[in-house]
Symmetry: C2
Subunit: 230 residues, 2 copies
DNA sequence: ACCTGAACACCGTTCAAGT
DNA sequence: ACCTGAACACCGTTCAAGT
């Protein structure tokens, strides 16, 4: 019995802030951000809920840490946060944004979390610095760069603030049915639905699988900024 | 004693879904969305928490209802959701968006709520229909109108997805101090801070009091769309 | 028809205590 | 140094019961 205890104690990897954060990210990926409670996360780590408080001050800090893990992934995938040389600013910025987007698609809870956090991650600020840097080295004035940062907003992290939500369960059936019933109330939307044949039927409502719409929006802004840069 | 009971019973306005929703909006305005719990809302209405469930199925429906109240305010302030005649599309759309923005500034919890809701308010869809209608009547193809709706995203409701958050308590002191310490880590941002004299110092970080930045972003998109319309 | 009380299954978190 | 148990103040919600 004592031997068994010793064995498990030796086998078990000790907890650490890093391990806690990684487990939290994995849990959110698998079951959504609402499944990330101190108790469930602890269970995932085969530990009591209160043990987490030794590595993390409170839940706020846990969520901040999860954001940081996501930003780290972007940094890794970009090969660091240096402003590239010899690349046109628009290309450099666009590829960076698309890389960020790829990371966000792996962690679909991340956009909402990013937007609701009030603490600023230091790593996130460094990401913003290189985004700004790409524009400055590309010939932007600091004034225009500043406006651009605000205008791009969270788009620089590869996601869009869509307002049409997935409407998970019922997909086409009820939705089309509802729209048909409201035809005279919604003349333009109904006509649009009829005119536009969506290649990928589920891409209309989801925010994240609609790569083409995201790229349309990004290019609209980048082209506009290029024009203002002169 | 019986008389007193009768008096209070006669004096008290009976609960209704409408009264519940208005109270919830008022509570969120005053104390933030996190203060809107079934128990606190009930207390505000001088009623037990369980009484709310007679007028509202659950908390989800309560939050959906709050969104609907906000959209109603926009509708009222726009004088209904009809597509205006004899107004240039860009002007019509811009004023509508700015009206929505004014409403959002009165209910600062609303943007976050709008973005996290998964149920689509019928009234919100009608709002979108007139936004699309303005563009179609302004000479947009349905295809371009569709792209534009996605690109504008929640901006059509008058808010921006900012990633720099207020950082409420400590304003300049710690923030500037921190930036100075990170000067070599954040060369571009630090320079930008130095170069740009903000007329309104608190407008840089807050998402909502920065009217000028919002207008810059909106005009960037509207001008871009005008160019694509041809 | 409208409201309530007690109870349940969950939260985050504190604090004193264990090894 | 690291982890735990019991307890507290809060959630949303059910259900049987009151008027």
């Amino acid at each position: 019995m004592v031997t068994e205890q010793e064995t498990t104690a030796r086998t078990r990897v000790p907890l650490s802030k890093d391990r806690v954060l990684r487990a939290a990210v994995a849990l959110a990926d698998a079951s959504g951000i609402e499944a990330v409670t101190m108790r469930k996360l602890a269970a995932e780590l085969d530990v009591e809920a209160m043990s987490l408080y030794y590595h993390v001050a409170n839940k706020e800090q846990l969520l901040d840490g999860m954001v940081d893990v996501v930003i780290s992934e972007i940094e890794d995938e970009c090969g660091g946060f240096a402003v590239p040389d010899n690349v046109e600013w628009k290309v450099a910025l666009r590829t960076r944004i698309m890389t960020a987007r790829a990371v966000m698609l792996r962690h679909r809870w991340a956009p909402e979390l990013l937007e609701t956090r009030t603490n600023m991650s230091a790593r996130l600020v460094r990401y913003f610095d290189t985004v700004l840097g790409i524009m400055i080295e590309g010939g932007f004035s600091y004034d225009l760069g500043h406006h651009a940062m605000h205008a791009l907003g969270s788009r620089v992290l590869g996601f869009n603030q869509e307002l049409f939500k997935p409407d998970n369960d019922r997909q086409e059936e009820e939705s089309n049915e509802m729209l048909a019933a409201m035809a005279e109330q919604l003349p333009y939307i109904v006509t649009m639905m009829q005119e536009i044949t969506h290649e990928d039927p589920e891409s209309t409502l989801g925010w994240c699988d609609d790569q083409a719409e995201f790229e349309f929006g990004i290019d609209l802004m980048l082209d506009g900024l290029e024009r203002l840069r002169g």
